[in-house]
C-alpha cells in the first residue's frame, strides 16, 4: 500500500511511488496541508503558538496560514507556555479546537500543569460533561549541538497520564491523517513530531483523510523478529531490516503511530508470529515508551517470547552537545540490527 511505505529519501519516493503518478509531499507540507484544510473546514479550529505567523512558520509547517486565515485564527502569543496552554484548554472546554504549536518538545514541561492537571482531567473531573479538544503539536530536535534543552523526545513522560493521547507520526501520510484525526478527536492529543522527518517525502493525497488513532501499521513484513519502532526510528528500523535481510534475518517492522491509544493487538499479533521483539524509540529507555511497550508484551505475550524483549533507545543522560558524544547518544539502524542478531542467535 502506498500509504504504508517509508521511502528513505526524496529520490527513493521519486523513483518508486512518484513514477506511478502518486502525489509526493514532505512531512512539513503534509502538516501545513492538514492545518490548512482544518482551518478551511471548521470555524472552531485555530492555530496558536510562538511564531506561528512569522517568516519561518515553525520550520515551514505553519507558513502562510496567518496570511490566509488572519491573525485572529493563527495567533502569535507571549512567551508564556503554561498560561497560554491553559487559555487554549479553556477555549477548548467552550467548544473551540485549538492546535497549539511548540517549536521544541522541550517546552512542554513548561505547560506540565495545564496539560497534566487540567487538559487530561477536565473530562473525568466533570463526569464527562465537558471535554478538551486540544492538540499540542511539538517537535523533537536532534543534532548540531542543540544539546540538553533543545533535543528532547519527551513523549514517554506523558504516557503516564491517563486522559492524554499521544501521536507520533513517522511519515508524511500519517502526519496529515493523524493530525486531522487528532483535531477531530475531542480529547487532548500530544502530537509529537520529529525535526529530522520534516524533509522526508512520501505519498500524501490531496483530499482530507484521517488515520485513526490507535491503529498500528506494518512497515515491513517478516517472520524472524518484530521491530516495534516509533517516529524517526521507523526509518532506522527499515534500514536495519534491509541489512538483516542480507544476513538471512527476516525482520517485521511495526509502527504503532500512536502511543495512546496503543494498538496492543497488532503488536502482540506480530510477536506471536516471530517470538522475538525489539522496541526502538527516539527517547531514553528508562521509564519511557519502549519500557511501557516491553511491559505490555511481558504481561500479555510472555508465552510467545523465545528470547527477552530488547529496547533500543538513548542512554540515561541529558542530550550532549559535542558531535562525538551525540553519535554515542543516538542509536540507529546499526544498534537495531545488532539487537536483532543477538535475539536471533547470530553474531
Amino acid at each position: 500500500m502506498p500509504w504504508t511505505k517509508v521511502p528513505i529519501d526524496k529520490s527513493e519516493f521519486e523513483n518508486t511511488l512518484g513514477k506511478e503518478g502518486l502525489r509526493g509531499r514532505s512531512y512539513r507540507q503534509a502538516l501545513l496541508e492538514a492545518q490548512t484544510q482544518l482551518l478551511e473546514s471548521d470555524p472552531s479550529v485555530f492555530v496558536i503558538g510562538e511564531g506561528v505567523d512569522d517568516a519561518g512558520g515553525v520550520f515551514g509547517s505553519t507558513l502562510g496560514l496567518a496570511q490566509k486565515f488572519g491573525k485572529e485564527r493563527v495567533l502569535d502569543i507571549p512567551i508564556a507556555e503554561n498560561g497560554l496552554t491553559g487559555i487554549a484548554v479553556g477555549a477548548a472546554i467552550c467548544g473551540m479546537r485549538p492546535v497549539f504549536v511548540h517549536m521544541r518538545m522541550d517546552f512542554l514541561p513548561m505547560c506540565m500543569d495545564q496539560l497534566v492537571n487540567h487538559a487530561a482531567k477536565w473530562r473525568y473531573m466533570t463526569g464527562g460533561r465537558l471535554n478538551v479538544p486540544l492538540v499540542a503539536r511539538s517537535i523533537a530536535g536532534r543534532g548540531w549541538g542543540s544539546a540538553a534543552q533543545h533535543s528532547q523526545a519527551l513523549h514517554g513522560l506523558f504516557n503516564h497520564i491517563p486522559g492524554l493521547k499521544i501521536a507520533l507520526p513517522a511519515t508524511p501520510y500519517d502526519a496529515k491523517g493523524l493530525l486531522i484525526s487528532a483535531v477531530r478527536d475531542g480529547n487532548p492529543v500530544l502530537f509529537c513530531e520529529h525535526r529530522w522527518l520534516y524533509d522526508f517525502t512520501g505519498y500524501v493525497p490531496e483530499e482530507m483523510y484521517t488515520v485513526p488513532l490507535g491503529q498500528a501499521v506494518t512497515r515491513r513484513k517478516g517472520g524472524d523478529v518484530t521491530i516495534i519502532a516509533l517516529s524517526l526510528m521507523v526509518y532506522e528500523a527499515v534500514k536495519a531490516a534491509s541489512a538483516l535481510e542480507a544476513e538471512g534475518i527476516d525482520a517485521e517492522v511495526i509502527d504503532p503511530r500512536t502511543l495512546v491509544p496503543l494498538d496492543e493487538a497488532a503488536l502482540l499479533e506480530s510477536v506471536k508470529k516471530t517470538g522475538r521483539v525489539i522496541i526502538a524509540d527516539t527517547g531514553v529507555k528508562t521509564g519511557g515508551a519502549s519500557a511501557e511497550i516491553a511491559a505490555v508484551i511481558a504481561e500479555k505475550g510472555f508465552e510467545f517470547l523465545k528470547a527477552p524483549a530488547l529496547r533500543v533507545g538513548s542512554p540515561d543522560s541529558p542530550v550532549p552537545a559535542s558531535p562525538e558524544l551525540e553519535k554515542l547518544y543516538y542509536p540507529g539502524a546499526n544498534e537495531i540490527a545488532k539487537a536483532a542478531r543477538a535475539l536471533c542467535g547470530k553474531k
Binding site: G86, A91, L130, N131
Partner: protein, 324 residues
C-alpha cells in the same frame, strides 16, 4: 438612583447570601458524621462577593472557580441537588461523583468547572473569553480566585493576555488575606493586588468584599465595561474566611490566626449586616425574612434528601469519562 437601590436586587443579594450561608452551615453540621468524604473549603464569611458578582451575570455567562467554589456556583444558579450529591460521591452528582467538592460543574448554568490547582482557573477562564471573542458571542467569562492565586504565574500570564486581546473577562480576586495558613504579608511585596491589574492596563476596583451592595455596584460597572467590548475588568474584594482553610472547624484553636482578627471580621458578617440594612430601610420585613430563610432551608434539605437517595457509582464508572 443606582441599580443596587432597587428592592428586587437587594432581595436577590440577600437571598443568594443566605442560600450560601445555610448550605455551608448544613455541611458544618453533617460533616462530623464522616459520610461526606470530600475535603470542603467553606465560603462562610465571604458570601457578599459571590452574591454581588453573580447578581450581575446572565445564565449564558461563564463562571470559573477554585477549590473554594460552593458559593460561586450556588450564586450562579448551579443545580443544588447535583452539588450535594457530588459532595457525597453519588451518581446524581454534577460530576457523577468523580469530582468531589473541589470539582463542581453545571454547564446549563455556565459553570464550566473548577480547578483545585491554585491559579489554574485563571487561564481556563481567560481561554473561555477567547472562545467568546472568536465566535463573536454576547457573554462574558467571570473568574473567581484567591489572593494566593495572584502569586502564580498563570495570574500574570492570564491578565496580560486578556488585556492584550481585550477579552471579555471579569477577574474577581477574593482577598481573604490567607493562602492556607500563610498570611498575605508573607507573600506579597505590594498588598494592593489590583495595582498589578492596572499595570497590565486593566481597569480595576477595590470594593468592600463584605458589603454586597458595594460588590454589586462595582461588578455592575465592570460587567457593563466588559459587555460594551472594552476588554477585561478586575475586582479586588477584601474579605475574611471564618472557618479553617479546609474542613468545618475553626483554625484559631490551633493557633493558625489571631483570635482578635476573627472577632473583628465576625462583627462585619456580610449576611447579618445586610439583613439589618434591609430591615432598617424597609426593604424586607421580619416575616418576609423568616419566609425566605424557610424556603432556602427547605430547598437545601430537599437537596440533601436527593443526595442521600442517589446511588454510589458502580465499577463500570471508574473507567468511563477518561476519554471522549
Amino acid at each position: 438612583m443606582t441599580a443596587a437601590d432597587s428592592r428586587a436586587v437587594r432581595l436577590e443579594l440577600l437571598r443568594l447570601m443566605l442560600k450560601i450561608r445555610v448550605f455551608e452551615e448544613k455541611i458544618v453540621s453533617v460533616y462530623p458524621a464522616q459520610d461526606m468524604k470530600t475535603p470542603v473549603h467553606l465560603y462562610i464569611g465571604q458570601e457578599a462577593i459571590a452574591a454581588g458578582v453573580c447578581a450581575n451575570l446572565r445564565a449564558e455567562d461563564y463562571v470559573f472557580s477554585t477549590h473554594r467554589n460552593h458559593g460561586h456556583y450556588l450564586a450562579k444558579g448551579a443545580n443544588l441537588d447535583g452539588i450535594v450529591a457530588e459532595l457525597y460521591g453519588k451518581t446524581g452528582g454534577c460530576s457523577k461523583g468523580k469530582g468531589g467538592s473541589m470539582h463542581l460543574v453545571d454547564t446549563d448554568a455556565g459553570c464550566m468547572g473548577t480547578s483545585a490547582i491554585v491559579g489554574g482557573s485563571l487561564a481556563l477562564g481567560t481561554g473561555a473569553a477567547l472562545a467568546i471573542k472568536m465566535r463573536g458571542e454576547n457573554r462574558l467569562s467571570a473568574i473567581f480566585f484567591g489572593d494566593g492565586a495572584a502569586d502564580e504565574g498563570t495570574f500574570q500570564e492570564s491578565l496580560n493576555f486578556a488585556a492584550l486581546k481585550k477579552l471579555p473577562v471579569l477577574f474577581v480576586c477574593e482577598n481573604n488575606f490567607y493562602a492556607t495558613n500563610s498570611p498575605q504579608s508573607a507573600r506579597h511585596s505590594v498588598p494592593e493586588i489590583y495595582k498589578r491589574a492596572e499595570a497590565f492596563g486593566i481597569p480595576a476596583a477595590h470594593p468592600d468584599g463584605n458589603d454586597a451592595d458595594a460588590v454589586y455596584e462595582a461588578a455592575s460597572i465592570a460587567a457593563a465595561h466588559i459587555r460594551a467590548g472594552n476588554g477585561p475588568y478586575f475586582l479586588q474584594c477584601d474579605t475574611y474566611r471564618w472557618k479553617g482553610h479546609v474542613g468545618p472547624d475553626c483554625d484559631f484553636e490551633k493557633g493558625c490566626r489571631p483570635r482578635a482578627e476573627l472577632d473583628k471580621w465576625l462583627e462585619r458578617c456580610p449576611v447579618k449586616t445586610y439583613q439589618a440594612r434591609l430591615l432598617k430601610s424597609g426593604g424586607i420585613t421580619e416575616q418576609e425574612l423568616a419566609q425566605m430563610r424557610a424556603r432556602i432551608t427547605a430547598e437545601v434539605e430537599a437537596a440533601w434528601d436527593f443526595a442521600k437517595k442517589s446511588p454510589y457509582p458502580g465499577p463500570r464508572e471508574l473507567l468511563t469519562d477518561v476519554y471522549k
